[in-house]
Structure formats: C-alpha cells, structure tokens
C-alpha cells in the first residue's frame, strides 16, 4: 500500500512529461546525496520512524538513498527509485562510490537529454554511451595500481574514513589479514576503539550447552590434539550418540568435539557422565555453525577441508552407526565458549584446503549477487586462519553505533581496494579518461553516438568539481590545474600529485560508479512511456 497517496489510480504517461518528471525525481535523490562527496562531507539528517528517537545523521550516499523510500509525486518517484536502486546496489557491492555514481548519473543524463531534445535519437545516444563507456573503462584500468604495505593501507583507510581512531587500526588489520581476512566489527565497551586478533578459524555459535563447558573458570572448553565429529544432526537420545563415542574410543581419541545442531538433555547427560567418570576421553559439543541449511552446509564443507574429516549429514540419511575413523577431523587445538567456536591448526591435508579455496574463488567469479560473493569471501577469509575483532568505542551507544557503521563501510572499501587496486582520488582518475574519449569520438561516424561520447567526456569532471565545491572552494579557479595525476587536496586547496599525497580511491568503486552511472543514464534516456499501477508499495528493499 502506498504510504502517501492511497487513492492513486492506474495511468499511462507519455513524453515530454516522462523525461521531465524522471529528471526531477532523479535530481532529488542525487541532490540529497551530493553533499556527502569528498573528504569534507556534510551530513544528511533522516527523520526517525519514532518521534522520540533522535534523527539519523548520515554521510553515506548509499544509505541516504536507501532511506528515501518514496517521493510524493509518482511521476518523479519513478526517476528517484531508479537512481536509488542503482546507488544501493553499488554500495552493497563495493562499499563506496555511490555519491560519485549519483553525480555522474545526473551529469550524463542531463547532458545527453540536451542532445535528444535537440533532435537526437535516444537509442543511438544510448549506443554511443555504451561504446564510450568501454573506452573510458580501458583508460581507467590503465591507471590502476596495487595497494600494499601497512602505511599505504593506513593512508588509504584515512582517505575513505575521516575517523582517526579507526583508520590506523584498519590499516594494521588489513595489512595483516589481506583483502579476504575475517573481520568482525562490534560495539565496544569503553571510549576507546580497540582491536584483538584471534588465532585460528572462527565461527559464531559456540557451545551447545553450559554443562559441557570443560573449563568453567575461563568460561570455555579447550581441547588439544582433538578429534572433531562434523555433523548437522539433531541428537535426540543417548543411544543415537553411543556409536560415535564407541568409534572415537576405538580410534584412540582422547578428546572429542561433537558438532551438532541440537543435543537433547539425555545425550548431554551421557557426555557429562563421560567427562566426569571416564579417564579415557573428554568431550564437548558445539553448535553446527551457520544459520539456515545453505550456511550450515557451507560451514561443514569448510570444517572438513580444514580438519580432514567427513561430514555426517541428515539430508543424505546418514547416521552415526556407520561411522569410521576417517569421519573424524582433527585439530591441534580447538576452543569454544557460549558464542564462538575456534579451530586452531586443523590437520586437514593442505593441498585439499588449497583446492577447496580455489573452488570458492571460482564460485565468486560465477556468483550473481554481492551477498553471495561476500559470503564466499568471508569463507575464504576464515579458511586463511586468523580473525580480527574491532570494537568500536564511544562515549554513547549512538557514537559507538555510528563508528561501527563507518568502520564496516571503510572495511568494505579497503577490501575492494586491496583486491582490485587503487586509482588517483578526488575525481582525477575519471578526469584522466578524457583524452581517450576525445580520441575515440573522432572515430565515431554516427552523429548521435559522437554527441554521446563528447557528452561523457565533458561531464567526467563533475565529481572533481563537486568535491571542491563541497570543501568550500570554487572549482573554476582550479580546473586548469587538474589532470594527469595532479589534483587538488580538497582539505587545504593545495595542488598535489594525488598518489604521492595518498589521495586514492578504490578502483572497484570508481569503476563501479562509472559503469552503473553511465549504463543507468543510457537506459533512462530510452524510457519513453511510464505506466503507473494502482497504489504501488513503497520501496524498502531495492
């Protein structure tokens, strides 16, 4: 149900109303996120859902766009939601670049609309934009350089996040863990933002029951040279468990970690009795990691690769009756508390582990959604071993939450920069694509295609201009000094070599912004008719 106008009727709209309204709607979203571009972002206040709550203050273009779920004018709403979706997807995928994409979209769309208004053909303009995009991307790819070393990583962190308490720590963490490292950002317990490292492979979850906490003083179970039985079973009775324990004992195991989804009271009692009475074996039980079947199945696969065990799974009607010693995985150490389960130095075959990681990498290449890709990357990070926990500090819970969000976003951008490299920041990398476009426009025979290419070349300075404007400078005074790796440090107005000054952008975010903005603008230019439905629902998810 529409939240604003419950009496809207179906309607069909034609040109020129469509372009005008689409443009107005798109501008509203773009103008809302534009103040956030650059090193001196201004904030956008979002009215809270409950009046008693304070307003949400955001400087993240993707988040701001996401908060705008509907415009009152439904003709404008079409354009606004079109841009919103593009920005949010970009933010989900690479963590940054949404403001750049918004500015580019507006500049490309407006400039090309002029050509169409002057009699150009929208479809040919679109083709021209798509051809020119390929040229611009090649020019951009030629500027990419790797990001490496603690100082460079910390410098880059500083350029994507203005919070000094976070940047040095993120620089250290990502220098250590690399692009795929496992990082958990949580709320801290003091004013200080702190980090800790956990040795080994960490899963959320932990012990199935406090009764199996073998070291109550440390509030955890820790076992050395331990066997690990990897399953997704819901163990309802002691008798169901007996064959597994017998097999472990026959195999000479002195320590056993049972991984299961559920453990009944009767089964728990049996394990408690073994720990109390038996001198032969110590046992503990942890939750099958992951939420949902897919997650759990992935976690079991990863555990098998790490420990050299074989998962016993319900889905294929397996049970503990036919267990063999080969089913047990092994680790030098493993520990679990009520929240975490950590395997240190799994004793699986290293070649099998490499091959498993390689399979996950291939899956990333084939996956369609950012969510899928992020999950796969998270798994790879875990398999590399070692995890960092960043506790965002602050004087109030709101400050901690804000800092946590900033850290998460910066981490996403850092990952993509480490993975895909960096380019000159401040909009200079885009500006430096102009010569390639100027050359390419000479080769285009079609007038509309050529106009599109020129339009794209012309507007590639839009992000650089806006960054300067947002920082309080008049861009017209600087434009002649921009390009070929040189730009303006928007913090002080000095002309600098952007790379030497550490003013860098993630190549993935600039690339992503350019691709999405140009493709979205090209597509939007060809929208000729809008059909309104009766009472469309407000957009909450893109």
């Amino acid at each position: 149900m529409s939240i604003l106008n419950p009496t809207q009727k179906p309607e069909v709209k034609f040109q020129p109303d469509v372009w005008r309204a689409f443009q107005r709607g798109a501008h509203k979203i773009v103008d809302a996120v534009s103040p956030t571009l650059g090193p001196r972002p201004r904030l956008v206040a979002i009215q809270p859902t409950h009046r008693s709550d304070p307003p949400e203050l955001l400087d993240d273009a993707g988040q701001i766009a996401r908060r705008i779920i509907q415009l009152p004018n439904r003709d404008e709403d079409i354009g606004a939601m079109f841009v919103r979706q593009m920005l949010w997807r970009l933010r989900e995928d690479v963590g940054d670049g949404a403001a750049t994409a918004a500015v580019l979209f507006k500049a490309v769309y407006d400039e090309c609309l002029k050509s169409i208004a002057a009699g150009g053909n929208a479809m040919r303009v679109r083709v021209g934009l798509e051809k020119s995009l390929d040229v611009a991307l090649r020019a951009l790819d030629g500027q990419i350089q790797p990001l490496a070393g603690r100082k460079q990583v910390a410098d880059f962190a500083r350029s994507v996040c203005a919070d000094d308490s976070i940047t040095d720590l993120l620089g250290e963490i990502f220098d250590l863990l690399g692009a795929e490292g496992q990082l958990t950002v949580q709320l801290g317990r003091s004013n200080m933002t702190e980090r800790e490292y956990v040795e080994g492979h960490l899963w959320a979850g932990g012990l199935l029951t406090r009764s199996l906490m073998l070291d109550p003083i440390q509030s955890r179970s820790r076992l050395e040279n331990t066997a690990i039985l990897i399953s997704d079973f819901e163990i309802e009775s002691a008798s169901q468990l007996t064959p597994a324990l017998r097999c472990a004992l026959q195999n000479g195991e002195q320590n056993l970690i049972l991984i299961a989804r559920k453990l009944s009271e009767e089964a728990t009692a049996l394990l408690v009795k073994i720990n109390r009475d038996s001198k032969q074996m110590r046992v503990t039980a942890v939750k099958t990691p992951g939420t949902g079947m897919m997650d759990q199945s992935a976690a079991l696969d990863d555990l098998c690769a790490l420990t050299g065990g074989r998962a016993v799974v319900q889905a294929v009607d397996q049970n503990f009756e036919n267990l063999t010693p080969a089913h047990f995985g092994h680790a030098r150490r493993a520990w679990a508390d009520m929240e975490r389960f950590v395997v240190v130095n799994g004793m699986g075959e290293p070649r099998a582990l490499r091959s498993h990681i390689h399979t996950l990498r291939r899956a990333i290449e084939k996956s369609d959604t950012p969510e899928q890709r992020n999950k796969l990357r998270e798994r790879i990070g875990r398999l590399f071993g070692g995890a960092a926990i960043l506790s965002a500090g602050g004087a109030t819970e709101t400050e901690m939450k804000t800092r946590r969000e900033i850290a998460e976003r910066a981490a996403l951008t850092l990952r993509s920069a480490l993975r895909d490299g960096v380019v000159n920041g401040g909009g200079i990398a885009l500006l430096d694509c102009r010569p390639a476009l100027a050359e390419f426009s000479k080769q285009l025979l079609d007038e509309d295609e050529r106009a599109a290419c020129r339009a794209l070349g012309k507007v590639l300075d839009a992000p650089a201009r806006l960054i300067l404007t947002n920082s309080g400078f008049d861009p017209s005074g600087f434009l002649t000094r921009l390009g070929q790796g040189r730009g303006i440090d928007a913090r002080n107005g000095q002309a600098v070599e952007m790379r030497s000054a550490g003013i860098l952008d993630s190549a993935a975010s600039v690339r992503g912004a350019l691709i999405r903005a140009v493709r979205a603008a090209a597509l939007a230019l060809t929208v000729d008719v809008v059909v309104h439905k009766r009472n469309p629902q407000a957009s909450v998810n893109p």
């Binding site: 040795e199 030098r332 070649r351």
Partner: protein
C-alpha cells in the same frame, strides 16, 4: 672426523658461532641433548639445559651479535632454551601447548634492536618472538600449510618452506602469502645470498629467485632432495648444499657447481660454517 661422544645418536642440529674464528665455539643438538665444543669440535661436553633428564635439541641459532651479547638459542620439545652467556647458563621459554617440534630457527639481522626471532615447527606453522625468545606466539594468518620445514630472511621478507610449498611474509612474519614456486613440492631448505633467494625442494632440485620469478638451477647432482643450503656473503661468497648424500659448492652464485668429497659411508645431514654433521652424530671439518 670428530666424534661428539662414544654413544651413537642422531645429530639434529649443528651451529657454529658467528665469531667462530676467535671463539672456536660449536653447539650440536642430538636426541640425547645439547653438546658444546670450545675448541672447534676437537672435544665436546654435554650441556645441562633442564634440571632433570635430557631433551632432544632440534634446532640451534646464535645471535648475530654473539660476540657482544653471547646469546644462543636451543629449541627443545615444548619450548625454547636461551643462554646469555654462551651456553653456561640457560633460561626457558614455554611454547603454546601442545608442544610442537621445531624444525628451524631464524633470527632477525637486527636482533639487537627488534629482539625478533622465528621458529618453524612441524605442527604449528611459524612461532614468533619479539622479546628475545622469552615468549612465543603463533602468527599464521595465510599460512595454509602448518608443517614448516625451513625459514630464512631475505631483506625485509621472511620465507617459510613447508611440506607443500613456499610462503612469504612482508610484515615480519605476522601474515603469510603463498610465494608460488613453478612446481608443487616440499620446500626442504632455504637461504638468501645477495638479495637472491634459493629454495631447495624434495623432488625438483634447487630454485633461485630471478627477476620477480623463479629459475631452476641445473647442474649434475642437484636433482636429489636439497636437504640444506648454506650461503655466505662477502669476498669469498659461496653456496653449499646438501643434495641427497652429496655436498655441492658454488662460488659464482649458483652458475657452476663442484662436488666436495666427504668421508665414505657417512650420510651428511647438517652444515654449519666449515663443518658438516653426519647422521651418525659425527662432525667433520673442511
């Protein structure tokens, strides 16, 4: 040939003092414990490291500033013994449990300032100490194979050879990335000379780093497992390797090689300065 003692015992580690020409000091690690010679191997004395019983000594290393600081390290099951008076008295540092087997020790060339040293272990990857050996922690981010067989430093990079390949750390052994050799093989030995890294493998001979990649060093006798590489820089720079049962030497950074004659019927296992250690526990000087 010099005999450490009359009892046959496996020789596991051998190290000569960096100031050997002056102090004639040698240490040998065996299953039966630690032995010290102060007369260039002519006579040996068993050293008592722990109060009760003996533990095998699996790796030995001298501080690069030994002449000044007199520090020497001896890896034992469960921990690291270190002496600050050339082996007269020993201190003990415990490893994280369960106790790993240390296969190699490497000390930072700037040990005096950074107090950093590394221990390769067969079960727990690489352990690192940044307080001169008093405490040890595993730093294995990215080290996919925890069976570390050898270690070396090359400039600011630390390299670890494992049972399935070579790993490199650019941040002082805190995280690791695979430094892919052209072959998939166990890396048994490592050494650096003049910025070049040499990696000895189990089945594919010796590799040398070259222009950002690797080049296989080809010579007769190098096709055997390269169990140890010893490289020394300076005016008379040389590389010596134990390839199977043969001792080979190159004085032109690996371009040409010659075989050095060893006593027959003896299997060499270790190189230290001018000395060759044999599996039987004997030590020979060149």
């Amino acid at each position: 040939m010099m005999t450490i003692d009359s009892q046959p015992d496996l020789l596991l580690a051998l190290a000569a003092s960096p100031d050997f020409k002056k102090d004639k000091l040698l240490f040998a690690g065996r299953r039966s414990g630690l032995y010290r010679s102060t007369d260039a191997g002519k006579s040996w004395a068993a050293q008592s490291i722990i109060a009760s019983g003996t533990l095998s000594v699996t790796a030995l290393a001298f501080s690069p500033n030994f002449a000044k600081d007199q520090i020497v390290f001896a890896a034992l099951p469960g921990g690291m013994a270190y002496s600050r008076d050339a082996g007269n008295h020993w201190l003990w540092a415990q490893f994280p449990t369960p106790a790993p087997y240390v296969s190699a020790l490497t000390i930072s060339p700037s040990f005096e300032e950074d107090k950093t040293l590394f221990a390769a272990t067969l079960e727990d990857g690489v352990l690192r100490s940044t307080d001169g050996g008093a405490s040890w922690q595993a730093w294995n981010f990215g080290l996919l194979d925890k069976q570390a067989l050898c270690l070396t430093l090359n400039g600011e990079a630390v390299y670890a050879g494992t049972s399935t390949g070579l790993f490199r750390s650019h941040n002082g052994g805190r995280s690791w990335r695979e430094a892919a050799l052209p072959v998939e093989d166990s890396v048994l030995s490592l050494a650096a000379l003049g910025g070049r890294l040499f990696a000895g493998t189990e089945s594919h001979g010796l590799f040398a780093s070259a222009g950002g990649g690797w080049k296989q060093v080809k010579a007769k006798g190098l096709e055997k497992p390269i169990n140890q590489i010893q490289a020394e820089a300076g005016k008379e720079a040389f590389i010596r390797i134990l390839a199977g049962d043969a001792l080979m030497e190159s004085k032109d950074e690996g371009k040409t090689w010659r075989k050095i004659q060893l006593p027959p019927e003896e299997a060499p296992v270790l190189l230290a300065s001018l000395f060759v250690g044999f599996i039987s526990g004997q030590v020979a000087a060149r």
